[in-house]
Amino acid sequence: MTSRRLVLTQSAALIGATSTGLLLPAIARAQGNKVRVGLMLPYTGTYAQLGVAIENGFRMAIDEQGGKLGGREIEYFKVDDESDPSKAIENANKLVQRDKVDVLVGTVHSGVQMGIQKVARESGVLSLIPNAGVEAATRALCAPNVFRTSFTNSQPTLALGKVLMDRGHKKAVWITWKYAAGDEAFGGFKESYTKAGGTIVKELGLPFPNVEFQALLTEIAALKPDAVACFFAGGGAVKFMKDYAAAGLKGKIPLYGSGFLTEGVLDAAGPAADGIMTTLHYSDSLNTPRNHSFRLAYAKAFRSQPDVYAVQGYDTGLLLVHGANAVKGDLASKPAFYKAMETATIDSPRGKWTMSKAHNPVQDIYLRVVENRENKVLGVAAKALSDSGAGCKMV
């Protein structure tokens, strides 16, 4: 008698057999070839060091796997994107169409990232973002094949507002460069600060990358807010912190910022930076065994100290390794590959983090204070902070 169960088992066995038969050669073929990894990063210009740190971190994560991805050898293809948005699409297409990469890792500059995003959405190639914080990449323009391992521009400042209120600063002035990253950082601060009950007395801004801050600092002195919050980075950040001290505001009106204010510039800023509090998803001085071992290994391998960018590059490697191991190197089986990355918990030097539905890290944001040219961690400003992913169709 043929029971229903028997029919089901037999057909299941049949389907199983055929599908394995179909799959086997695919895996064999895939494992025979090298994984083609494209690195599109800035290797010249202002962001050159960031590009190098990201590549170092990325290679370190791969090297910890014996230099293989899911058991397959790797071939690297590199393009210097020069942080030039006008060449972004051409550069990304070089990697995708000419070099036929399986994975595109890049980049630092948000404008260039928008070019990569376009190419990634059109070609469907896996795109991993190791730095650029432009919100659209994991909001309105999010895609199943685009993953970010860094942050959105508003993520650090989303933790900042509550910090200010907790420390009793009810009236604050916000100051930044008026461009996409500055505006997005402001969005995060505004949301969290006003929600916590704070009042933004005035929003000050100047065009990027203008550094003539003196007039605005005089305005801050005249307004006498309880605190100042800001977003600046690089050379402009140094000048801002020094001008702030020179204008006599240091020690009178506390200065807070998105963590990029004090990243990589503390030697240049000197004592002017002491006491400045910032929020970021990493700090060199994070006192965990994971961070210590990472920093030691990185210093040995590259003879330089890792920074937040190296960590983001490293995490990009960890994420890719996790996904590739889950599908045993068969990167062509995209649903399983992407599923593994979406559900991954990355054991990062910055602390464990997971992916949001919009493919952006859900991570702890630390409160740091500058002491003696170092970002000292005071604690966690926000636990498992996620970006809203507003407008993303996958959410």
């Binding site: 003539e212 000048k239 204008a247």
Partner: protein, 287 residues
Amino acid sequence: MDFPTFLIQLLNSVQYGLLLFMLAAGLTLIFGIIGVVNLAHGSFYMLGAYLAYSLSSLLGSLAVAIACGAVLSVIFGLALEWLLFRHFYERDHLDQVLLTFGLIYIFEEMRSILWGDDVHSVPIPDVLAASIPLTDTLSYPVYRLVISGVCVALAIGLYLLISKTRLGMKIRAGAFNRDMTEALGVNIKLIHAIVFALGVALASVAGMIAAPVSSVYPNMGSQVLIMCFVVVVIGGIGSVRGALIAALLVGLVDTFGKVLLPHISGMLVYMLMAAVLLWKPQGLFKQ
């Protein structure tokens, strides 16, 4: 805006304007007298800032560093003029633009090789590191007053040099009628070399005295270059007096614009330029 705030903003405007003047004066001198469009002028500003950084840590004193740096920039200017620029005096402006545009890239690359891509800072000398308090939160940094003072002194020196000295007379004559001046036995090639080196030194000294407040970083010259051209165009190309008035005007508009009309502050300077050019298409003081 209360009175102390207004006063400080006025000081801010004047200080920014004077620094712009230092830069624009060299640019407009080189164009007005030699007839060379020099896009690399911002690079000399950057060079000055990096010289201040290296020399002040080497020599231990900012004042000595500036003195040495000024001499070095004059030598650098003379060498550059002799090697490159003098071969372009008779050429089309487009050739000059291409040459100096190329030089921007070369100088950036040299800066990257010599000093790297890091941000550096130059400490303000201890005696000048104070601030003058005006109200409980308002104060004005002493060093910025010094910047203004140095700029004013240099502006007066420049005025005396051009209008009162024999060299200045030859410079003016050469700018007015090159062939006739040469026929009268003036070594016009030497005059041009001196003017060029002077322009380089002005930009470089501006970079050196600004270094402690501006910090020292890659591409810092390209930002000021645009403002420089705005000043030169408003003032009237070739006019040093025009550059002074225009620089102060730009300083005022930029400073008060940032505070009073923050949302359009980035455009205000360009709107000023457009307005001036509508009124006087040659600039305020075209000779």
